[in-house]
């Protein structure tokens, strides 16, 4: 920052009219002096400028307030100099007090730092994901349109080309509506071959998000007609990396999957789209050849921009009507289908909302506990200083003077805590940004939010000052002679009651946090103990996608995958090889309508559906799944032989209840003649994640249902990662232009599927431990202080014959009452409050008794430990010396 701007900031203390009139001259004057000064004198000048701004800036504001001031006071030092001097004195005193009692100061500062840091970090994440507006033009008018099948409870299905075209043609609500389909492409030609994320989009896509072209043009109507569709729009990032930001790139060819496309446009750097980081956009072809667009293959995400005067509700009711019309028009294909409009913001936020809100509540509790702790400690400290204050008051210190000193001391602690808190927050934000598994808004990135930081700082500082003001206020009201009498033993009932309440509250809040953390940990264990239906250890997975242009519609792809499978099977290190078009636990899925032979579909039954997977004959053994009935696929189940299928247990139960499906027949709804015989039943394999329910799945031999992309699973007895070079060699030998992607061990795949749960559990666990530590520190601090206050009294009782054990029992008993009340309150309210986190739990009730008992026991033992030390100290008090102390 340059000196001019710094001085202008100082000048802001002056009233605006004065600044407007003389600001320029003042600045010139100061800068001229500064230019003449060197070294230390420069610092001196700045110091003087600061004092000038402080004294005369505020002073000048008062000039404007009171025109009828005493004229002779309008110059020089009318903000009394002694205030600055005493402030300096109080500051020095506060720092000395901190050094003298480093224990209390350390706990207070640490408490504040952790609370501020954790709060700011988590709230920053919340702010980024939930509160900050989406980075699109008028984001509130963006919606997504889904296909819905209310009868099946499915509200958000992807959309078929025919439905999209009908919606686009019939609707009146949208200014633009666009379809999107993600893809991965091989970018070849100049430079290394590279797998890049691409998107097929219909022409209005860029209009929906209000994005124009930086160079060239965006898509227009007619770009999606086969033969004229070999066009691409480049993202700004790809244009920069691959084409060196060359503006003349428009019109040049680019090789994608070995086919030449023409670059028609480049997007600006601020162009952002939801759910994708696509580098290349190409026109989405709805209609291949002469057949009409399909209504049964659901593949698109549909985004739309509402017209300015249309609300989401209006759009929803219009789309409902259109859905019903289409249902009448296509009774077989669209039975039970409708359209569902949801705001885009909700789509993006929903998946993480509950987790973030739970975390937010957790850190809110931490902040509360921290505030209680600080209040407790400061109250205790103030009680210990009643004598000191009384002495100062007796020798002439004014009351305002005493109060100010206490406030300054609390302020110093608060500022120190804030400074460390800022450091913790910065670090915490980095940690969150790096660890947050499913960043709902990758375009946003988590950054430290300044408003959030300021809010947290303000909260803690206000609390610290209040905690300081409370005893100070009490002190000035009490007779200064009182604490000096008889060693100042009169306890203050108000403060005692308050402290009692604070310990209870602290225990209650901590138990709430512990219950929350305990429940998520139990959920996580429940998730991990779920049967995945496959073996995760000793398995490597990788995916290969064959360019359609080179491999055509199936035969070549099947041959390629078959060849690769047999080559890999020949390797000594590899025990089993299999491949699946839509492998488990990865998020790849598809769904098709099926017809079960002989099954009568009642009017209330939803459409019969199954999730298809094309697999190689060894796939079931390769993933370690089990055949429940019938047989697996054989090499003889090829394109020429009879069509066969294997189904999972869920499908068998749902569509052939009480009967064996082996030997029965099934077909896809849109392939009337192709019946397939069910030859086997495989156990249920978790597809969307360990905690997700299993859908009906139908497995087909790859040779009878070719797929251009397969995920291979290799089983080995050794380290799965050591297989990678072998795989790479074989793939290269077969096709040197094919990149491998998603190379992971099956264990990594499984871990990814529970990542968010693990993240939530880890964070909540950390917060719970933090709360426990804070609570223990707080309880210890207060009890220790209480014991030291009561030392003379205990001394008297010991002298009069009380047994040390009795004294200890009494102190423990008192503490126990507070802790027990806090526990009952906390656990009781958790029964109610934990209903709020039901959505993030799995396999555990919010009122899980085991968790409650464990939390109660652990909190009780930690609290008792914190009390035991001061109680033991009370027991070992030497009566003689304590009496001498009080005399």
């Amino acid at each position: 920052m340059n000196v001019q701007r710094l001085y202008r900031m100082l000048l802001r203390t002056f009233p605006k009219d004065l600044r407007d009139e003389f600001g320029g001259q003042m600045e010139a004057l100061f800068l001229a002096e500064l230019a003449n000064a060197r070294g230390f004198r420069r610092w001196r000048l700045w110091q003087r400028a600061l004092a000038d701004a402080w004294r005369h800036g505020w002073g000048a504001r008062r000039d404007s307030w009171s025109r009828f001031r005493k004229t002779s006071s309008y110059i020089e030092y009318d903000l009394p100099r002694w205030r600055m001097d005493t402030l300096r004195y109080d500051l020095r005193h506060a720092v000395r007090a901190m050094v003298r009692q480093p224990g209390t100061a350390f706990i207070v500062v640490l408490t504040l730092a952790l609370a501020i840091g954790a709060n700011t970090a988590v709230f920053s994440a919340v702010h980024t994901v939930l509160l900050r507006p989406l980075p699109y033009t008028q984001p509130e008018r963006l919606v997504m349109v889904w296909e819905k099948r209310e009868a099946e409870g499915v509200m958000k299905n992807s959309v078929s080309p025919a439905d999209y075209l009908d919606w686009a043609r019939l609707n009146q609500s949208f200014a633009a509506i666009a379809a999107f389909n993600g893809a991965a492409l091989d970018l070849t030609g100049e430079g290394d071959p590279e797998k890049i994320e691409a998107a097929g989009v219909s022409a209005p896509y860029f209009d929906v998000f209000g994005v124009g072209a930086l160079y060239g043009r965006i898509f227009q109507e007619g770009d999606d007609v086969i033969g004229r569709n070999h066009l691409v729009v480049l993202s700004h990032a790809l244009w920069r990396q691959r084409f060196g930001s060359d503006p003349k790139v428009v019109g040049r060819p680019i090789m994608l999957n070995r086919v030449s496309f023409q670059i028609v446009g480049v997007l600006p750097s601020n162009a952002k789209f939801p759910n994708t980081e696509a580098q290349i956009f190409m026109p989405l072809v709805m209609q291949g050849g002469v057949d009409p667009p399909t209504r049964t293959s659901h593949q698109f995400l549909v985004y739309a921009r509402l017209k300015p005067d249309v609300t989401v509700v209006q759009a929803r009711s219009e789309m409902d009507r259109i859905g019903r019309d289409l249902e009448k028009q296509y009774p077989t294909l669209s039975r039970g289908h409708g359209a569902h409009v949801t705001p885009l913001a909700a789509e993006i936020i929903e998946p993480v909302e509950s987790t973030l809100l739970v975390l937010m509540a957790a850190v809110g509790f931490i902040l509360l506990i921290a505030c209680i702790n600080v209040t407790n400690l400061l109250l205790a400290r103030a009680a210990g200083r009643r004598r000191e204050m009384a002495v100062r008051s007796a020798i002439g210190a004014g009351r305002s003077r005493l109060v100010r000193q206490v406030l300054v001391e609390c302020g110093v602690l608060a500022v120190a805590g804030s400074a460390f808190g800022l450091a913790v927050a910065t670090w915490g934000v980095q940690l969150l940004a790096a660890q947050m598994p499913v960043v709902a808004r990758p375009e946003a990135g988590i950054v430290l939010s300044i408003p959030v930081l300021l809010f947290t700082l303000a909260t803690t500082i206000v609390v610290a000052l209040l905690a300081g003001a409370l005893p100070a206020w009490h002190m000035v009201r009490e007779d200064p002679a009182e604490p000096l009498k008889e060693g100042g033993r009169s306890p203050v009932s108000l403060r005692r009651r308050l402290r009692f309440g604070l310990i209870v509250a602290e225990v209650a809040l901590t138990s709430l946090l512990l219950v929350g953390a305990g429940l998520t940990i139990r959920s996580f264990r429940a998730v991990l103990s779920q049967e995945a239906g496959l073996e995760t250890s000793g398995r490597l997975t990788f995916r290969l996608a064959l360019p359609f242009r080179r491999y055509g519609d199936g035969v070549d792809a099947t041959r390629f995958f078959g060849e690769l499978e047999s080559r890999l099977a020949g390797e000594a290190l590899i025990r089993q090889v299999g491949a699946n078009s839509l492998p488990p636990l990865t998020g790849f899925d598809g769904r098709r309508g099926v017809v079960i032979e002989g099954r009568v579909v009642g009017p209330d039954d939803g459409p019969t559906r199954a999730h298809p997977r094309s697999v190689t004959s060894n796939y079931i053994q390769a993933i370690g799944a089990r055949l429940r009935e019938g047989r697996g696929f054989l090499p003889s189940d090829d394109a020429a032989s009879a069509k066969v299928a294997i189904i999972n247990e869920t499908m068998a139960r749902r569509y052939w209840p009480g009967a064996s499906p082996i030997g029965r027949r099934v077909r896809y709804t849109d392939q009337p003649e192709q019946w397939r015989e069910v030859v086997g039943i495989i156990n249920d394999v978790k597809h969307w994640g360990l905690d997700a329910p299993v859908n009906p799945e139908i497995y087909l031999p790859m040779s009878q249902a070719p797929s251009e992309a397969m995920t291979f699973v290799l089983a080995t007895n050794g380290d799965p990662l050591s297989l990678i070079p072998i795989v790479q060699r074989h793939v290269r030998e077969l096709d040197s232009n094919l990149p491998l992607f998603q190379v992971r061990t099956m264990e990594q795949v499984a871990a990814r599927s529970v990542e968010r749960r693990r993240w939530t559990m880890t964070l909540l666990g950390c917060f719970a431990v933090l709360a426990l530590v804070l609570a223990a520190a707080g309880i210890y601090g207060v009890m220790a202080h209480l014991v030291s206050l009561r030392t003379p009294e205990i001394g008297v009782r010991l002298t009069l014959g009380a047994s040390p054990l009795g004294v200890m029992r009494q102190i423990l008993g008192q503490a126990l009452v507070q802790i027990a009340i806090g526990l009952v309150l906390g656990l009781g309210s958790s029964l109610l409050l934990m209903q709020g986190i039901r959505t993030i739990l799995f396999g555990v009730e919010p009122t899980d008794p085991l968790t409650l008992v464990l939390v109660g026991v652990s909190l009780l033992s930690v609290a008792l430990l914190a009390v035991a030390v001061p109680a033991y100290r009370a027991m070992t008090i030497d009566p003689v010396s304590s009496l001498r102390q009080s005399a």
């Binding site: 004065l18 003389f22 003042m26 004294r55 005369h56 000039d63 110059i75």
Partner: protein, 117 residues
């Protein structure tokens, strides 16, 4: 009839900075910057703070001790400076303060104090 607000005695005694400013303007109109230079040379250049100076200047103007004066006709309009001069009240106040100081100065005890130094 002059209001109570405008009696010169009401402003006495003057703070040193005020008297300095009034004295600097006693010879005729000057702009703020040249007053500052004048004062700094006399004061040893250290003590005058911009905030203090301009705040005082504004107060003096608001109280009617000084007023803004038109600049020189041949001045470059792009560099027009703000000129100030004493008002009648300002002159009266400065004169009253000068008289007060003179009364102090002619006192033989003052002379004795000064000699003793």
């Amino acid at each position: 009839m002059p209001q109570d607000r405008d009696r010169p005695e009401r402003f006495l005694p003057l703070k040193p900075l005020v008297l300095d400013i009034l004295l600097a303007l006693a010879d005729g109109k000057r702009h703020g910057w040249s007053v500052v230079r004048d004062l700094q040379q006399r004061e040893g250049g250290e003590k005058l703070l911009p905030g203090n100076f301009y705040r005082t200047l504004r107060c003096l103007r608001d109280d009617g001790l000084i007023e803004e004066a038109p600049g020189d006709a041949n001045e470059d309009p792009g560099e027009r400076r703000q000129y100030f001069r004493l008002t009648r009240l300002g002159t009266l106040v400065a004169r009253a303060e000068a008289r007060r100081i003179r009364a102090v100065m002619v006192d033989p005890r003052t002379q004795k104090l000064l000699k003793a130094r």
